[in-house]
Subunit: 334 residues, 4 copies
């Protein structure tokens, strides 16, 4: 019988990891099960850096960004030998089930443990929203709000000077953040990895606004396409004349997108996923990840989710089109 659950956070941190930890511990407690926090990702298994998650530790974590359990990449866990050792340590510590909160890489680690016989449930924590199979990951809503609020600030300056601003946001393989914040912040252009950028159309749009209406413009660029500096050079090459682009200012939002107190949506989503993860473990489930699917919580098999590419929802693409946001052309399958 399951008497103790372990929980760890791994990979890049995302806001909402703490509420997920809290919900795991509280739900377990309500079922008479203990929760042990493993610090520093998979690394903490080897160093035995375990933390009893009692009421006192929990009282202030809901509103804090990052992860109180800390996170890291763990080289030892990459080898089969290392994972065997980890499994042994977890079992000796009486941990009969594990909740792993993290992105694609962290959940791949979770699947290894599952395959070796340790019951494991994953919770998708990633601001990129790049996990296939879940409408939202824990942290996306907070990151999107941070980006939107920062672009709102940038627009103050853009309007005051009638300038164009290029804002690079996170999203290595996914344009979700760039596209949806382009909508919510009223940007004119979104450059995302899933669609082929149309440089001439962007230049035309900038010229129109700069020369005719004298209005400011905003371009949101997903980092997965290319760095902001390179994108400017591509614009310049195509434009020939650089006078237009001298007026373009660049901002790379960077790590501020990861931090901050989680939003209401992220706290609620994280709590729902933490609850589901514990219930799943108690019902003998393993090798699954908690997802938001058509507005409902659902468990999905890690094998159906890992390594697959998530595409932007067609309804968001259509909305961007109706709002007259320039986001490039469909990439034809070769």
């Amino acid at each position: 019988m399951l008497t103790t659950i372990g929980v760890l956070t791994s990979g890049g941190d995302s806001p909402g990891m703490n509420p997920a930890i809290l919900a795991v511990a509280r739900t377990a407690q309500s079922k008479g099960v203990h929760t042990v926090g493993i610090r520093n990702g998979y690394d903490g298994i080897f160093t035995g850096d375990f933390l009893r998650l009692g009421d006192r530790a929990m009282s202030t974590i809901l509103e804090r960004g990052g992860t109180i359990l800390q996170s890291s990449r763990c080289k030892k866990f990459y080898s089969e030998e290392g994972r065997e050792q980890a499994l042994k340590i977890l079992r000796e510590a009486g941990i009969g089930g594990l909740v792993v909160i993290g992105g694609d890489g962290s959940l791949t680690g979770a699947r290894f443990l599952h395959q070796m016989g340790m019951p494991v449930i994953g919770i998708p924590g990633s601001i990129d929203n790049d996990l296939y199979g879940s409408d939202m990951c824990v942290g996306v809503d907070t990151a999107a709000n941070t980006i939107m609020q920062l672009v709102d600030k940038i627009k103050d300056t853009a309007r005051s000077h009638r300038r164009c601003f290029l804002v690079e946001v996170m999203g290595r393989g996914s344009g979700y953040l760039a596209l949806t914040t382009a909508i919510s912040s009223g940007a004119q252009v979104a450059v995302i990895p899933e669609y082929r950028v149309n440089i001439p159309r962007i230049l035309h749009l900038l010229r129109e606004r700069y020369e005719k209406t004298k209005e400011s413009s905003t371009i949101i660029l997903a980092e997965g396409v290319c760095p902001a500096g390179e994108f400017i050079r591509r614009l310049e090459e195509e434009a020939g004349d650089s006078s237009l682009l001298q007026e373009v200012r660049t901002t790379v939002l960077g790590h501020v997108q990861r931090g901050g107190a989680p939003t209401h949506f992220d706290r609620l989503l994280a709590c729902r996923m933490g609850e589901l993860a514990v219930n799943a473990l108690l019902q003998g489930e393993s090798g699954s990840v908690t997802t938001l699917n058509k507005g409902r919580m659902a468990l999905k098999d890690l094998n159906d989710v890992l390594g697959r590419k998530r595409h932007p929802a067609p309804e968001i693409i259509r909305l961007a089109r109706h709002l007259q946001i320039e986001f490039g052309d469909v990439v034809e399958p070769s």
Copy 2:
């Protein structure tokens, strides 16, 4: 053929009304249709307070709370005669379809116009989230974040003094805001109209925390149950001894819950609903309201939605239980 669409906001304002207006105007523009903003709710029809929604008016409204079209209650519209007159004015102005953004009462007005032959689509704007048939209304996410952030502030003082705070939040017929913000802000108690409050259990919980663990507590009270002052009196009556309750501090959040720049979620939801409303009108739909249903946009017949009571989702109730939030007993049907 539909060449001009009218849009108005009515009843209590909610954050996100402006993005909805913007999406209506932009989507219509992308289809070659004009949009006329009607100011001051239904009242503006009679006074002819119409506003062409061009690019310039639109450029800064996305990030502003409230409604640039303003809102009011309109007595004239309560009579059949008044409504006949309104219809005539709208037709003479060439308005071939209307988008009404507002709560239950405002959408009831919209249904009248629909029944008289004017094509009308409603968008649910209400921070209470009390519309039957939609998972979320425009404004709820912003209001929930505002409440959560304010309770986070209150907890600073509560912890510094180890006190209990009673926080009254909006929600006349619906405990949605109270229950979900109790979860997201880590409150111990939620008092909501849908469940019968259990005063002895609350007193027991307060005593435990106050006397034993010396920890602060938070109670979130939906205004629909009773005013905060009355709730304190009910606690005092049951407690007999008032020493415990002298330490309880009360805050009524009030109108700040309605205002503020809309969140990313609300801007996106409002844009999606505005887009759908215009597309629906262009396809000849009428008498419907845009809803969020299992994560997707859907039109629902106003007749199936108006006047019906929305109940808290069972999964949120279960989550609150697992997180050990006290929220009362099921109300038995009499």
Copy 3:
């Protein structure tokens, strides 16, 4: 020689108390002196609730509202006998100097200890800004920003409905918060204890705006004048006809004004005062309070500061007049 300093927070909490604690501990450390945090105000002296303030405890407190040392009122400290006992305990614990962070009442307690021979320096922590002799107290800037941001939210609704809003803010004996936030939030009226409210002029102004320009209005009321409900009744009595005042909405901001992460100004002010307090103790000072005086830090004798009334700066009064804010008439000395 002074080897250990004690620090405590007392009375109502204010944002910035934590940075003050941090600066006390860090400055002492830089001089080779230990710092002991006394929890729960003067009460913690009797219960021996002492906390070594090391680097770990300090690393996250700068950005947190409230006070990590917690605060309370201590009845035992009201009697001479109690204070003698407190002095004895402090001395036995090796505490050779004390920093007390709090308002007028807390600093009066500090003066008792000073008079009994314990070196004590006070730091004014109070959101009311009611301490005579200091341009600003720790917490005022954060509270003013919170109020201003909340009034900005309320204005969204006020403008959407062209309504008048009455907002009650903190300030028992001082109109500082009410008057300066009326300026910064663009209110039309400030009602403060230092000036006699002119009801007829306010009614005239409301009528003008409500009937002629159809614009929204905001009144900021300091709680020290009277509760918001009573103020509305006074307006009604004078108006005779209540139709105008039915449109006035009331919000009591309450305890949210105390909480929240301290602003840059408050963190800097708190650090400067914490540094000065430690330096003063090390130089043999006692019985003083740190103040901001004409932009500079200055020590003032507690005897010159306690129990005296602070008046609004004449230049702020003149500014309010030039901005055409209605704030009443000079109270003639009787």
Copy 4:
């Protein structure tokens, strides 16, 4: 007699310019004087882009970042001929006095007009706080709060991964923002143009924290020293071994520092300066700038202020030292 005042914003925008414009217009109105807003900086004089600043335009500008009058650099104004023409246009428009809001360059332009006989008063608007003679410029407090809040977010990630973050902030010739936000955000290192960076000490500190205490660190770098990338290279060169620095993450805050709703402090400061500027013009003053001097408003001669270097206040330097912030060595005069 002065019947009409002109007001313009020039150079880089700063939060608080709008409240300054509002205070100019309101104060002038209270004295029976008209105010004309000149759009787009000095450029608007030539294009005659004038705006009557009435009540309606004023009602929402207090809370908005940037400048509603917009700003630009004006080449025409660089030549004496251009300035003669500008003077003529202003006089023909009946503008008998001018308020110029901007930084060092903009105020140099203002002095030209003053020398040519047009009464001019400057208001220092600059987030860098680099104007000699004023304790604070309009916009500094807002920018400092934005930086501090963003560093608070970054610390969430830094703590979760025990990493070092290098944050580049604005400040071309002035380390004011970098040094004071290092204090308020709890950074370990501030690199500012006024002090010579001590690379070996920084490396020692990073090694200590990274290897021994396993704690995260934050370095705040003023852009005036060098770009963040170059600073990392200097650290690497000195370190020899780059393993330590691979863990350093870099964020360039960029243009978000300029935007956002002005803080309470900035709104109040801007209003006080706007009021003083109008009063000064009405009293026949010219060629001066409004300053905050030892907590009081004061006019200073532009000749005493322009082109001079502002040094960090000794008391802030001392505070940084007591808080054990590493900020380099005094630059010896050569």
